[in-house]
Symmetry: C2
Subunit: 421 residues, 2 copies
């Protein structure tokens, strides 16, 4: 009747999963579609920035040498020989006591080596010819942005595995990355198992509940950067489940099932893995919730058997599935970001198992604080809605008191941790 | 030559923008597409959760009264009259010394008021009839999840204006929200102006640079929750710009232009606003970068004239455009989230203006710390790539030293602030 399972520590379970060889696949997407994707190659400067000497202000481009000796009582006069806006290039060469009226961003004209800002120039006309004069000397290079000042051609500016943010979008555009090399989103197959499950649009009937795990997991897959392929829900019937799982494996990069992994009379996943000939990496983890999480390997694919319990399912995904998705996205920090926070409530009851409590972290006066996001019963989906972190409460003989420092794993974060365990 | 502009404080500029009446539009999207969208109505429990008394464990449903007096030397025996998994409903009524074998999640059978977990039951058969016995008494209600224990019908579980996360997805599914009421994403029109601009796929030529602001702003619009409609780039020609802007206004909810708002010879936006008859809310803000940011109002629409300088453009968007997008998404906290952080570097130079320094915040031992994300020259797009915050350095006569507490605005955040100024 009772299958005896040997629980392994969370860290060991994660190690077994990430030891599996994961290959990132590169694809190119138009820059318009690259925001939020993960760079699959280093972003390299394809040219100097700026790629020409330019004026950072509106003013007059001159030869600094012509301002030597200028002073309050000794203004220097320049004839304004051209007028250029950004994007225009002057055909003139600036000679002695000549100036080109130049706008912000425009290329420095030949011969000029400094810019006089409007504010320090006195402008006037003589016989309809524009002139300007200044009453101080200007240093060579003053008010000039030099070629390569911001970035040098060939420089690596952003490392691969980083999620593309608005600033990186700007850099991609600057360097002409019309097509952006990004990591292909891994395709994660998903089945919900359970005879008790109704579709979202079905009316309630006694004994049955609506399938919520699939929608939750689909969102977790999206948040992690993967693509979900939902295959539907399955009743607790061995043959139906076996055939469905067997046929789905080849269509996806990873396969998630929810439910059916415990030791109940209708929990068929263990038998399904056995009949498939899949190698079970582990089927019990020393943690709450999610202890029955099972991961197996078959035909080069990972099969994630998450619990049907919503909280256990949620936690199992974040600890075990998220890292493999992030590895497939080239991320050097594929795990949930680990931080320290101050616990704001008591957890008086001791628990022999390591608990992962769905929590809300927030900052107060620059300090990270954490409270559980709901009642900590593992069957309460309500507590998931406010969760932006998991608080790790190590198993032991004592409870935890408000004010103590605890470790939290952040859920809404693109940075990640290399190894939080 | 010089147009004199009166700078106003950032807070006043933001106030002028959000004083404008903003109407959220509700639309319904399939639950599969609702992750990351903003709820446009409160999420209410459409039924009790659970909606029937159920067993939270695998075990035997019994009448607790039958266990009275049970003990080590006085086991009580039960005939197992049925066997149900989750989703099944027993047709049997549990009478005296009868039990129903029940799996996690299944509905309690009639007559039973407690569950005996497998671990405490001894099972056996007599004449092929299954029996079980226990050696302790069980309390009424023990191991039963009662109807309404997690949520009561009619209860508001999530307030409108919240971004839908995986936990909320689960709740939406549970309550049968097949179609989810979300705020329609505001459509934000976008023009880049500047004769110096090349398309991303065009080769560089002297004096010109590739248009990077449009891609950056498009990503910022997406990050804020809006939809970008990019109308293309415009040369610095008054008539072309005027016609393009005029024709675009009616096609979008807000219109952003980048460039052309300063006092340079080819900065035509001020004249365009004038010819349109638009009411300029402000055209100078007491801040660096982004002081020339201009916002006008025309035909009930806001026109955002952001600077062409990438950093100023970036900051102008986050301070002034993001809040109106978030207001349109029903968010009660539409502004960038404001927090306190420890400055990790010196800013020795005083500056009379309030500076918004593109920065990277990170946690160290549970404390928020901040460093500038690059050199703080406003024309350096490189510093944008690592930015996840803006550090506010108030204007004054002194610099800032490492170790001091500063205010930061978080960029990668869905929580927001009600009013950070």
């Amino acid at each position: 009747m009772f299958e005896r399972r040997q629980p392994i520590p969370i860290a060991d379970a994660v190690k077994k999963i990430i030891a599996f060889p994961h290959q990132a696949v590169i694809e190119h997407v138009p820059i318009e579609e690259s925001y939020g994707r993960f760079l699959a190659a280093d972003l390299t400067a394809t040219h100097d920035v700026p790629h020409f000497d330019r004026s950072p202000y509106d003013g007059f481009a001159i030869r600094s040498i012509d301002t030597e000796g200028a002073g309050i009582s000794n203004p220097v006069e320049f004839e304004v020989i051209d007028h250029i806006g950004a994007g225009a290039v002057s055909a003139k060469i600036v000679s002695r006591n000549q100036a080109v009226r130049i706008m912000t961003g425009a290329m420095m004209p030949e011969g000029a080596d400094a810019v006089v800002m409007f504010e320090v120039a006195h402008t006037y006309e003589k016989n309809e010819v524009p002139f300007m004069s200044i009453k101080r000397s200007i240093k060579k290079g003053e008010n000039v942005s030099f070629r390569g000042e911001d970035a040098k051609e060939g420089e690596v500016l952003v490392k691969k595995g980083i999620s593309i943010n608005p600033g990186i979008q700007a850099m991609l555009a600057t360097f002409g990355y019309n097509q952006v090399p990004v990591a292909k989103k891994p395709l994660v197959g998903l089945f919900a198992t359970g005879t008790e499950l109704l579709e979202v649009d079905e009316p309630l009937v006694p004994g049955k509940i609506r399938n919520s795990n699939s929608y939750m997991i689909a969102a977790q897959i999206a948040r992690s950067g993967g693509t979900c392929r939902y295959f539907g829900k399955l009743p607790d019937e061995f043959d139906t489940c076996f055939t469905a799982v067997k046929n789905a494996i080849d269509k996806v990069d990873f396969l998630i099932t929810t439910g059916g992994v415990s030791v109940g009379d209708y929990d068929f996943l263990p038998e399904i893995y056995q009949k498939l000939g899949a190698e079970v990496l582990f089927n019990k983890v020393a943690m709450r919730p999610g202890s029955v999480t099972t991961v197996a390997r078959h035909n080069g694919k990972l099969l994630f058997g998450l619990s049907g319990n919503p909280s256990a399912c949620y936690v199992g995904f974040e600890l075990f599935v998220r890292p493999v998705i992030r590895i497939a996205l080239c991320s050097p920090k594929p795990h949930l970001r680990k931080e320290k926070a101050i616990l704001e409530v008591d957890f008086p009851k001791a628990n022999p198992f390591t608990r992962l409590v769905r929590s809300t972290v927030y900052l107060e006066d620059g300090r990270l604080k954490v409270v559980p996001s709901g009642l900590d019963k593992s069957n309460i989906i309500m507590s998931l809605s406010g969760a932006n972190a998991l608080t790790i409460l190590p198993g032991g003989t004592r409870g935890f008191t408000a004010g103590s420092e605890v470790t939290v794993l952040l859920l809404e974060d693109q940075t990640g941790s290399e190894w939080p365990w």
